[in-house]
Symmetry: C2
Subunit: 260 residues, 2 copies
DNA sequence: GAGTGGTCTAGACCACACT
DNA sequence: GTGTGGTCTAGACCACTCC
């Protein structure tokens, strides 16, 4: 495509229809980004694999390298893809992340020694979605859902009690045994075994008092203040695929957040 | 600067010294970004004002528009600057933000009506920095500091109790009267009256039990779980200029966070 | 219409990783 | 050396804002 000469088709050829809100202008690189996202979602390149080079993609889409580049830049910011200079661009994966827990913002207090992490699965049951779960996961009331409860211990001390809800339709063969034998992050299991990619999440954080059962599991007094972290995890198209309620004991750990 | 011909000075002319860690390569746009940051910090352009156009800056720094553009892009991501198509690029300011509280991630529950915000200043005292305050603000133990305490009410209901610590040297004329007569966000006052720009912040979040005094101010039972949000706010050069401990009542509100 | 940011191109060269 | 992402340039045109 030459910029100096009138191009055969305008460079800003919008693929969208201009019905209601006017032209619905969308830059080329956004359209490329959408195409790449579709390929990622469709599994053309698997997590951990390299996607084609910028030059190849530029040739495929008949645009300049710079335009492909800008599209990939945004995918990288969104965390769908990871760039590695000199090597290529790779599909993001939970399976080989150095940080074990991508979405866990919990850190130990400076004094506390950073001990090994232990996971203890309490149960894994197939239930029907309650009103709350159905709303969060965009299911119908009573549709099948999987509930997983587990405990996270740091240096032997229980710190996180998680209650996880998943759409039953997406997690057919998920069992307590499968969970306890798996090494590595939960999201890696979901990715490799069930093809579900956790891309981003929204959290609502509150302070609550520990119930008797919760207190016992977390080894704190009943009524002790706990951090309640309600996480809704989304995949492609902002489709919710997990509802997780975490209770964090914050005597020895804290939730870290950066604002700007 | 022509790319086709050997340039007089190499385009990647690093301004830094290559002493210890090798060449210390820094892209041109990063150097431009650093220069622009210096100008912002030095007050060459005041908050709310427009900075020169990309073309002007390109001419000033003798680089292409694209290079200036990339520098400004990062400043925009960092929140130091705001781009407005067709109008220009403006120095970020707390004074004319539509969202009143840039760093406050608190939202009302869906049911709760969004009422007007009321601020109630409890006190403003000049004290000496405790060990904790000194460490957080990088002061010496016992150096002068200002303590402000205030209550935030939404629709008449007390929700946030803040205890704010500021370096005394930077906030000479800050008084309770000045605070209570001021309309608008605290950070806007700090910006216009004291020339202190809050650029980013780190928060440590915990769940705690309300003390008797705290409970009374927030109209909750003593021992009720509260969200403790300890914020360290930074200005240019990551210099800490505020330590704030907020206690949030999370029965009617929650702390919202987005992860990706 | 003039000015500003936003998009797009084509081409060159640099830094990094593998072979 | 070859290939990949990363930087830089010069120039064109588009979209938005204001006069």
């Amino acid at each position: 495509m030459s910029a100096a000469l009138p191009p055969a088709s305008p460079p800003f050829s919008t693929v969208l229809d201009d019905t209601i809100d006017g032209p619905a202008f969308s830059p080329l690189y956004q359209q490329i980004k959408a195409l790449l996202t579709r390929s990622l979602q469709g599994g053309e390149w698997k997590p951990g694999e390299a996607i084609p080079s910028e030059m190849e993609l530029a040739a495929r889409f008949k645009v300049s390298q710079g335009t492909v580049r800008k599209a990939i830049d945004e995918l990288a910011v969104d965390g769908l893809v990871v760039r590695r200079q000199g090597k290529g661009t790779f599909v993001a994966t939970h399976a080989e992340e150095h940080v074990q827990y991508r979405f866990l913002r919990l850190e130990p207090d400076p004094e506390g020694a950073a001990g090994p992490v232990e996971r203890r699965f309490l149960d894994c049951r197939r239930l029907r979605a309650s009103a709350e779960v159905a709303r969060a996961l965009e299911l119908k009331l009573g549709e099948p859902a999987v509930q997983v409860r587990r405990l996270l211990l740091f240096a032997g001390v229980p710190v996180v009690l998680d209650e996880i809800w998943l759409p039953g339709a997406l997690f057919k063969g998920l069992t307590a045994e499968r969970l306890s034998e798996y090494r590595g992050p939960l999201y890696a299991l979901f990715e490799t075994e069930f093809g579900v990619r956790m891309l981003r999440a929204e959290e609502k954080i509150r302070a609550v008092a520990a119930s008797a059962a919760e207190a016992e599991l977390l080894a704190v007094p009943e009524g002790a203040p706990l951090l309640s972290v309600e996480r809704r995890t989304l995949t492609f198209g902002d489709k919710p695929v997990e509802l997780r309620r975490g209770l964090y004991q914050t005597a020895t750990h804290f939730y870290r957040n950066e604002l700007n």
